[in-house]
């Protein structure tokens, strides 16, 4: 009797061990999945909208967040409009108040995918990739495709690039009075040091 009982117990133990092992596998898979994500909270975005011989219209944010999933190439980025700093405080106020309406639309976002991303091919010299996705500024979303240069960095990768955006694509109104002082195409530079 006693012998049979312990045999049953053994089977139960064996089953729960398999379950436990499966669970462990899931946990390990998940955590290693998380480890594949590279993130920054201090990315840099600069934009330049100056016209020659007029007052400089440019600003920079040093607190841009971005995340890259190394396994899939999925990429997302977020910046607060109020975080952009101008040289002239009044220009910054007008940027927020009149152009970007940052109370209504506090952030600009991007979500997309780096095509054919393979982390094993990243080296110390920058390599060009195509980044495709949706750029949302001023509450308006537009599909974009830009070139991003990616190189190896300590504990992650460095992604930099430049692209242009038109204010009218994002319903950002520019009154005729200042039309000639602001460029038609805004040049945007970004620099993200993504790490584990």
């Amino acid at each position: 009797m006693e012998h049979r009982w312990s045999k049953r117990k053994l089977i139960i133990m064996k089953k729960s061990f398999i379950n436990f092992f499966a669970l462990l596998l899931v946990i390990v898979a998940n955590t290693s999945g998380f480890a594949q994500k590279l993130i920054t909270k201090s990315g840099n975005i600069k934009f330049q909208a100056s016209m020659p011989s007029y007052e400089e219209v440019a600003a920079e944010s040093k607190s841009v967040s971005a995340v890259l999933d190394q396994t899939t190439g999925d990429f997302a980025s977020l910046v607060l409009i109020k975080g952009f700093r101008f040289k002239v405080a009044l220009m910054e106020e007008h940027f927020n108040e009149n152009y970007m309406e940052s109370e209504k639309f506090p952030k600009a976002t991007f979500k997309g995918k780096i095509e054919d991303f393979d982390s094993s091919k990243i080296t110390n010299s920058p390599k060009n990739f195509t980044l495709k996705g949706d750029l949302t500024i001023h509450g308006k979303t537009k599909a974009v495709s830009v070139i991003v240069k990616i190189s190896k960095a300590p504990n992650g990768v460095n992604a930099i690039g430049t692209f242009e955006a038109k204010p009218e694509d994002f319903d950002i109104e520019i009154p005729s009075l200042v039309r000639k002082k602001i460029a038609d195409k805004i040049k945007i530079n970004y620099n993200f040091l993504l790490a584990k």
Binding site: K15, I18, N19, A22, L23, L25, V26, A29, N30, G33, K37, I39, K41, E55, S63, S65, A66, V67, D69, D74, F75, A76, S77, L78, V79, L80, K82, G83, V88, A89, L90, E93, H94, N96, E97, N98, E103, K104, P106, K107, T109, K111, G112, K113, G133, E173, P175, L177, V178, K181
Partner: protein, 280 residues
């Protein structure tokens, strides 16, 4: 083996971690400054100060005019023949402290001012509170008229507290308790210490246009003066702020504005003028 199915499904779900979730994961990384900005477009509501402060190292040049009374009609071209001028500058020492100096045609007045922020409206505090201290120096008074005149008699002091709230994107209000002390006064008709209370507000008609209104009630004024009531229109054009105003108090100095309102709106006796700001 059925039991393995559950964790296996879990595993699949985590693989489907999408770009949306990636973006959502960034939301928590950013915390926004909750300070209210642009409660008012300009440093002045109409003639009163607003709670707006110049930024650090920012210099504002201000030119203001108040013309003669509109009542005179074509005789003085609705007052435009009799312009009074204020020329001045305001400098932001820090983000919370500004100094100002101006010269006024009326009473050949020099005005020095100190403006300092005490509190800012944010998610945790409902009001902007700014202190404003003014010393007016009247250089129009002459020894021939007042043989005993000393320098101190030229001085008038005003202390104000500016309390504002940006109620909505378009609408902001301000309350202003104000205390004034004159070193030279005529005890038969006026008091040396005068207390006023009032305020005003602005309403944005468009992004770059707002209508402003302000009123101050002077509790210690002599009967023959009125309480200042003014209406203005802010026009913002890039680096300039242009304010068109109508008021029953011609003076642009704080003390003159509060105590010497001579116009009477009811009789069509008011003044046209403007404030022009240029930021450097």
């Amino acid at each position: 083996m059925k039991k393995i199915l559950v964790p296996f499904c879990l595993f699949l779900v985590t693989l489907a971690y999408s770009q949306d979730d990636l973006l959502k994961s960034l939301d928590s990384t950013q915390t926004e400054e909750s300070y209210s900005t642009a409660t008012f477009k300009a440093l002045q509501l109409v003639t009163l100060q607003t709670t707006k402060m110049p930024a650090k190292k920012e210099f504002y040049f201000v030119v203001s005019h108040r013309f003669g009374t509109v009542k005179d009609g074509f005789d003085s071209f609705f007052g435009l023949d009799n312009a009074t001028t204020k020329l001045g500058g305001i400098y932001g020492v820090t983000d919370w402290l500004a100094v100002s100096l101006s010269r006024h045609t009326l009473n050949k007045m020099y005005e020095t001012g100190l403006k300092y922020r005490l509190a800012r409206q944010n998610d945790n505090f409902p009001l902007d509170i700014v202190g404003y201290s003014v010393a007016d120096i009247n250089t129009f008074l002459e020894k021939d008229q007042y043989p005993g005149l000393e320098f101190k008699h030229r001085m008038t002091y005003v202390q104000q507290l500016l309390i504002s709230r940006k109620v909505s994107e378009k609408f902001s209000i301000e309350l202003v308790p104000s205390f004034l002390h004159k070193n030279l006064y005529n005890p038969d008709i006026e008091r040396d210490n005068q207390f006023s209370f009032g305020g005003g507000g602005r309403y944005k008609i468009t992004k770059r246009l707002s209508v402003n209104l302000e009123y101050m009630h002077n509790f210690d004024k002599p009967d023959f003066y009125k309480n200042p009531l003014s209406v203005g229109l802010d026009v913002e054009t890039g680096g300039h702020v242009f304010q068109l105003i109508f008021t029953n108090s011609q003076s642009m100095s704080e003390s003159g504005y509060l105590t010497n309102a001579s116009g009477d709106w009811g009789k069509g006796d008011f003044f046209f003028g403007f404030n022009l700001y240029r930021v450097f």
